[in-house]
Assembly symmetry: C2
Homo-oligomer: 180 residues x 2
């Protein structure tokens, strides 16, 4: 199993990194991919980290899942990238997409949530045209997993692991990290 | 209010970064301090990030709180640092210390938990000599806050904000990040 997590300037740090952490604990190959001009990417609260690869250099054909973290500016930067738009549309056809907080609005803007159940941060519900909003912490509709916000990121990551690996692995990780 | 969060090689990334994120949301000046030879520090799951300052360059007199994240190797590296030992002992006298997961064992090794209530990761309970173990998610005893593990980091961070700022700020942040 292989996952790609996108890092754009202004990404919500822990929405991205909790997912990377939990997926790596689950044994899923997880590639941190920069959607800027450099491997170094600055988060919404000014934490600079180094991604593993540049967006143009990734073999998406071998990936099972893409993850779109939120953050106001991070989401704008992902939404404005033509390359990301094309990758998201490709994955929507037959692979898995996970988006949290502001980022589900990227899927809505591409028409991918029309008639589908989804959740997002309350501040972005007006940018979810076509979606059936659930207002839940995490929502799954077919191959699209959406999460509400930073405070729901563990459950969002567990839902991804459940779909890619299985619930037994989720329970193992919850025990290991003292998650109740 | 000012907090110092220590980053040693092998730190548990989200135990450190959720705290940085929540404290910055609360308006607490939060300095990410490297306890290595460089500003760049590598986490337990191989994420490299840039700290704000080197441990030797920080004005600890102006800080109200130090935070010790866990991670097996990260905790060993903090425990082995004479400089960190001295800083921890200074803060134990009249300021606030917060430690999570494996890191409460650093406090125990310095004799700072003798007769005091504390929690830690189950794997480290045998390294908590002197402490009265609560097995709780988060425990406060006087000026020492301890947390159990990665899965309790949000509650650990909220307890810090509650003590430094107040419960009203905690509730504002919980609402903003959709934390239930």
């Amino acid at each position: 199993m292989k996952a790609v997590v996108f890092f754009a300037t202004g990404f919500e740090e822990c929405e991205a990194l909790i997912v990377v952490d939990i997926l790596r604990r689950a044994g899923i190959e997880t590639v941190m991919v920069s959607v800027t001009e450099l491997l170094e990417v600055e988060s919404s609260r000014h934490i600079v980290l180094r991604a593993d690869a540049m967006a143009a250099d990734v073999d998406y054909a071998s990936a099972d899942l893409i993850v779109l973290p939120g953050g106001r500016l991070g989401t704008e930067n992902l939404k404005d990238s033509r390359a990301i738009q094309d990758i998201v549309k490709d994955f929507a056809a037959d692979k898995m997409i996970a988006a949290i907080c502001a980022a589900p609005s990227i899927l809505a803007s591409l028409g991918l949530l029309d008639g589908r159940q989804a959740t997002c941060h309350p501040d972005y519900e007006n940018q979810m045209a076509g979606a059936i909003l659930t207002h839940e912490s995490v929502t799954v509709d077919g191959n699209i997993i959406t999460g509400q916000g930073l405070g729901t990121t563990f459950d969002f990551a567990f839902e991804i692991v459940k779909r890619l690996i299985g619930n037994r692995k989720v329970q193992q990780i919850k025990t290991a990290i003292c998650y109740k």
